[in-house]
């Protein structure tokens, strides 16, 4: 099991993405890197910063950072831990999460809305990572 938000989890997620033909197909034209941020609260003492560089259906780089200063990604998606958990458990559609402002997005929303299939496949990939959540 990998703890959500840890470097090990991010590496496992990268592996899941790069072994998914469905993601490769759905995201074949996608160009854009991300910070996925777990906001502080509950067991999360300070924000967790996960960086992923997604490019033409594969993940070129994935790692955690102590804060947001290392990169300037095209997209920053942030939410508290319970909301991330709902997304990974497929109880919350990420686009619906953004529309209800449970998930905050910085970046080109129009580009995200045109990549809905890729977003779905990305969530699908998280379900293949044995995940435990910080307690």
């Amino acid at each position: 099991m990998f703890e959500f938000g840890s470097d090990e989890w991010v590496q496992a997620f990268m592996q899941a993405i790069n072994s998914s033909p469905a993601y490769a197909e759905a995201a074949k034209t996608w160009e854009g890197d991300f910070y996925f941020i777990v906001e502080p609260g509950g067991p999360v003492a300070r924000e967790l910063v996960m960086y992923m560089d997604l490019w033409h259906g594969e993940c070129r780089e994935a790692q955690t950072y102590p804060d947001r200063s290392a990169k300037q990604p095209a997209f920053v998606i942030s939410a508290p831990l319970p909301v991330w958990r709902k997304v990974i458990d497929k109880k919350l559609d990420p686009i619906q999460g953004m529309m209800t402002r449970q998930i905050k997005l910085q970046g080109d929303m129009v580009k995200i809305m045109k990549a809905v299939k890729a977003a779905k496949e990305l969530v699908e990939c998280t379900t293949r990572v044995p995940t435990q959540f910080p307690e």
């Binding site: 469905a22 197909e25 759905a26 559609d93 686009i95 619906q96 953004m98 529309m99 209800t100 402002r101 449970q102 997005l105 929303m109 129009v110 809305m113 045109k114 990549a115 809905v116 299939k117 977003a119 779905k120």
Partner: protein, 386 residues
């Protein structure tokens, strides 16, 4: 968590007289030249003037309104300074009015920036009234906006929940003389909204009843409205059905039939309602293979019998039977598309559908190969079995 948005809906005979009670100073009417010629604009402006409002009309909205038209209308709006905006027409006019409203309130924005995530903060300068003149799009009761980027030849699905009209006036006077073909096309749009609103993965308790009722109204009244255009009851019930379906799918999202239909519209210029109605039974069959339960509800509600597993097939058959009755095409071949045209267009059809925002809410999302096969079925009129 989710939302249910609705305007105040004023419906039925003489609903238009609600305009006489509007409080304000200046109203800007967004419409098209045909409605001006038909006298529908005069019906509206006369009542607004009776309410004491100064009125200006922008009658330059074209079918599939462009970004340029929206910017031009917003500039005239800024010059006039209305406190009410009236979108009068089909979906094109109402969508254009919604987009112009955003630019009027926020001149620094581009229409492409209107999205459901970033708050817009509207209603600082004006409020919106929508008045549909077809029984189809439901745009009077949705916040979605579809515009066309003519430079890139693509449709843009935009909108924010704040774009919802304050008042929707659903008066059957505007549809009493709609031609049969327009009635049929727009009626199939209503059916597609209602079926997809009920079966999308974003379906919810607040929308379900609306969608089922709209499906029932279409099945009962669309043939009468098409075949006996002078039937006032059929016209009124179909007009109500369009708004009811708009509320239903607008708060649950449309799905794959819209993604595939939008693509057909962009490539072959098939009218929107005809396009989505044409692909609807095929998407029912495709989605129903893995998620039949919601279709079983619809089939039960319509009293069609059969088992849950059989429901998608039964519903698809019922939709095709309705289409036959109102002389709508059942395949792309029926719609006049040749095999050569289809094969040349297939890659673009698939690419457009894959990139359509409505695909997100489909209960089953096809990959590129499945979309190609689906379009091949639609081309040949062959039932989907994969």
């Amino acid at each position: 968590m989710w939302y249910f948005n609705s305007p105040l809906v004023v419906f039925g005979e003489d609903a238009l007289n609600e305009l006489v009670a509007i409080q304000g100073h200046r109203a800007f009417v967004v419409t098209d030249s045909t409605l001006l010629q038909l006298g529908h604009v005069d019906r509206v402006t006369a009542r607004l003037k009776e309410a004491g409002l100064e009125v200006r009309v922008f009658a330059e909205v074209e079918p599939d309104p462009s970004l340029e038209t929206v910017k031009r209308g917003a500039a005239q709006m800024a010059d006039f300074g209305p406190d009410w905006i009236v979108g009068l027409g089909g979906g094109s006019c109402m969508d254009a009015a919604k987009a112009m409203w955003v630019l009027y309130e926020h001149p620094e924005m581009a229409p492409e920036e209107i999205n459901p995530v970033v708050p817009l903060v509207l209603r600082q300068k004006a409020r919106l009234i929508t008045i549909p003149t077809t029984s189809g799009t439901g745009a009077e009761a949705t916040w979605a906006i579809v515009l066309t980027d003519t430079a890139e030849n693509r449709k843009l699905a935009l909108g924010s929940r704040e774009n919802m009209a304050d008042i929707a006036i659903v008066d059957p006077v505007f549809v009493a003389a709609l031609p049969p073909q327009v009635t049929a096309d727009t009626g199939m749009d209503v059916l597609t909204h209602a079926v997809e609103g009920y079966t999308t993965s974003w379906h919810n308790d607040f929308c379900d009843g609306l969608c089922l009722k709209a499906i029932q109204l279409v099945m009962d009244y669309l043939p009468r409205a098409v075949l006996v255009g002078t039937d006032p009851e059929a016209r009124e019930r179909m007009h109500n059905a369009a708004t009811i379906a708009g509320l239903g799918f607008g708060n649950a999202l449309a799905a794959m039939a819209h993604a595939m239909g939008h693509s057909l519209g962009a490539v072959f210029h098939t009218p929107h309602g005809r396009a989505v109605g044409l692909v609807l039974p095929y998407t029912v069959e495709f989605t129903g293979l893995t998620a039949p339960d919601r279709y079983a509800d619809i089939v039960r509600f319509l009293g069609l019998g059969g088992s849950a597993a059989d429901a998608p097939r039964l519903l698809a058959e019922r939709i095709r039977s309705l289409a036959r009755e109102i002389r709508q095409p059942l395949s792309l071949q029926d719609a006049g598309i040749t095999r050569a045209q289809f094969e040349a267009a297939l890659p673009k059809l698939v690419e457009n559908a894959e990139n359509d925002a409505t695909l997100v809410a489909s209960a089953r999302i096809p990959d590129s190969g499945e979309l190609s096969r689906l379009y091949a079925c639609v081309m040949e009129g062959r039932a989907v079995d994969f």
